[in-house]
């Protein structure tokens, strides 16, 4: 009869483990995200809601400018469309971590597997990211067809901007997810509040020049500002109105690289710190109730 012994060497987390866990978590995330019992509700949430938000802005803008702000309208539509990704990523990451702890109560079983919670979290949230990109495409399509937005895509700029921007936004989302792990289950609404604050200072709907001066350093320090600017140039062929629009494309891209390179390690370190703090406080398997 075989006798079980502890293996002489025991590995920690390996890259193949993390990759396998990520892929598996993508499947889980999709199973959860696509499990809307009511397809109508799913359509409203994923399509109608972001479209309606963008259209409200457009109507307000047209009333204020009396239909005279064509170039600014394009700025508004692209910013509003892309911001769906920020809401989707941040909301998805936080929802994943809180659902696993509070609703499915699987957090403790995930934590005690040899894989890290980090790839599972990223994989779980990817479905929300995919859905948010659908909202981006739909909002842009409505802008082109109904509002006269002219797209002149520059793939060489758009692709790296999208990859870097998504990386930065996911890093911010991971940080917020770690933070929300310290909080009660009502924390699901926090990412919307944070994304809303970033919405104002990242130049999504206002050019940075119109913000109060004390907010300018913040706006220039966060990667979402440079992601939006690079993406606008990659989609429209020109930059935003104001100072930021006068910078060369390469400078914008370089600033996106730099700010992302700063944010990602900080966010990962923050997540690791939050995880340790959750272990310290006994929050990993806590069900907070509402």
């Amino acid at each position: 009869m075989a006798v079980i012994e502890r293996p002489a060497t025991v590995e920690g987390l390996t890259i193949p483990d993390a990759w396998r866990s990520f892929r598996t978590a993508v499947g889980l995330g999709w199973a959860i995200e696509s499990n809307w019992s009511d397809p109508f509700l799913f359509a409203v949430y994923t399509i109608a809601k972001p479209l309606a938000a963008a259209m409200i802005l457009v109507v307000m803008f047209n009333v204020i400018t009396q239909g005279q702000g064509g170039e600014f309208l394009q700025f508004l539509i692209v910013g509003s469309a892309l911001w769906n990704v920020v809401f989707g990523v941040m909301g998805g990451l936080v929802q994943s971590i809180l659902e696993d702890r509070e609703r499915y109560r699987m957090m403790k079983y995930l934590v005690v597997t040899p894989t890290s919670l980090f790839p599972i979290l990223l994989g779980r949230s990817l479905a929300r990211v995919a859905v948010s990109f659908v909202a981006v495409i739909l909002t842009l399509a409505v802008g082109v067809v109904l509002l006269g937005v002219e797209l002149r895509p520059n793939i060489l700029l758009l692709v790296p901007a999208t990859i870097l921007g998504l990386t930065a936004v996911m890093a911010l989302g991971v940080f917020i997810a770690g933070w929300c792990l310290q909080l009660r289950q009502e924390a699901w609404s926090y990412p919307e509040a944070i994304a809303g604050a970033l919405y104002l200072v990242s130049g999504a709907i206002f050019p940075i020049d119109v913000l109060p001066t004390f907010l300018h350093p913040i706006a220039y320090a966060i990667p979402t500002t440079w992601w939006l600017e690079a993406s606008r140039r990659g989609l429209l062929g020109h930059g935003s109105p104001g100072t930021i629009g006068t910078l060369p494309d390469l400078v914008v891209l370089a600033l996106l690289v730099v700010t992302t390179a700063v944010v990602v390690p900080l966010a990962l370190a923050g997540f690791a710190w939050f995880m340790r703090r959750a272990r310290e406080a006994g929050l990993l398997d806590m069900t907070t109730g509402s």
Partner: protein
């Protein structure tokens, strides 16, 4: 091969911040569990059993003290510990309800690093072992409590852990489901010696049935530790037998029995005559230094013209041990219910 202890804990304390004052869940626990041992932590709710399991499974940091699983530190070597352990907790409704039972197990097989094909093979094997074949394609949300706990148990065996932690695994289960789970646990042990189990429970029968050694825990401290037999001997050093005879022994009677070597005392049992009015039958309560003295008692009884008609060993229960140690029963703190 490694000679490491399966579990090694020294001075493990855990204090929870709480108002109006901090709560000490563990007050300096020392524990060594050998590889291949089935070890039980027995105590009422709030004794600190689950807190200790959480620390040993890397879910919670100790406030002070050290603990090692298979030689790895629970604070800093979590990834290595998680390779060799698994955990199953009872009394909960966890699970991704929208996945099928088979899908959920496969998902965890991937998180445990099994290759895809090997994962499916292991999943199907565990489904069969736990008797969940009929529910294999059922959504988790449609499973009964007992079926969910079997699924949970199967998940706990996916990586064939070197150390398995079972935290109140039969809590809330009906009698049949709890018995099934205990049988699965024993079968897991029998299949390959060397596997280590740490079980927490407040069911005496469960601890006795499953565990080689038991620690009795209360208010964050280990009060006593040993085999079930050793624990009983703490409250009753001698072996006590109830002997029923067809008549009183001649030639000195009960006193002669009491004077035999190895016999500590021999007195009429509390219930006296065993067979109603008019009968010569008599019941004795005989205390022996150890069981081996029983032979001379039986021989002496026969030599004195009596016949043995009944023999029963009287043993204290683990609850008696707990009462002796703590001065109260399980039920004084928490409603004591029998093992399902």
């Amino acid at each position: 091969m490694s000679e490491e202890l399966a579990i090694h804990a020294r001075g493990v304390t855990r204090v929870y911040k709480a108002k109006p004052s901090p709560v000490t869940a563990l007050g300096g626990v020392d524990l060594d569990v050998e590889p291949g041992e089935y070890f039980g932590l027995l105590g009422p709710n709030g004794a600190g059993k689950t807190t200790l399991i959480k620390i040993l499974t890397t879910l919670l940091l100790p406030t002070s003290g050290t603990a090692r699983i298979a030689g790895f530190d629970v604070v800093n070597e979590t990834a290595k510990i998680r390779r060799v352990i698994n955990m199953v907790a009872g009394g909960e409704q966890s699970g991704y309800g929208l996945l099928t039972l088979r899908e959920q197990l496969w998902m965890f097989s991937q998180f445990y690093g099994l290759p895809a094909r090997e994962g499916w093979r292991r999943v199907d094997e565990l489904i069969e072992i736990t008797g969940l074949q009929e529910q294999r394609d059922q959504k988790v949300r449609t499973l009964s409590t007992g079926q969910r706990q079997k699924l949970n148990f199967a998940r706990g065996l996916l990586n064939d852990p070197w150390v398995l932690f079972l935290d109140e695994p039969t809590l809330g289960l009906d009698v049949a489901a709890a018995r099934d789970l205990r049988e699965h646990t024993l079968a897991w042990k029998a299949a390959a010696p060397g596997r280590t189990l740490l079980l927490t429970t407040h069911y005496m029968v469960e601890a006795e049935q499953l565990c080689d050694r038991i620690a009795i825990v209360d208010r964050g401290k280990i009060l006593a530790l040993g085999t079930p037999e050793e624990l009983r001997r703490r409250v009753q050093a001698e072996s006590i037998f109830r002997i029923e005879l067809d008549r009183l022994p001649a030639n000195g009677g009960i006193a002669a029995i009491g004077a035999l070597p190895g016999v500590l005392s021999a007195v009429p049992a509390d219930d006296g005559v065993a067979d109603g009015a008019g009968s010569d039958r008599v019941a004795l309560k005989v205390a022996l230094a150890d069981d081996s003295a029983l032979t001379s008692v039986v021989t002496a009884v026969a030599e004195r013209g009596s016949s043995l008609v009944g023999l029963a060993k009287s043993e204290p229960s683990l609850e008696d041990v707990f009462v002796e140690l703590v001065g109260r029963g399980f039920g004084d703190e928490d409603e004591a219910d029998p093992a399902p």
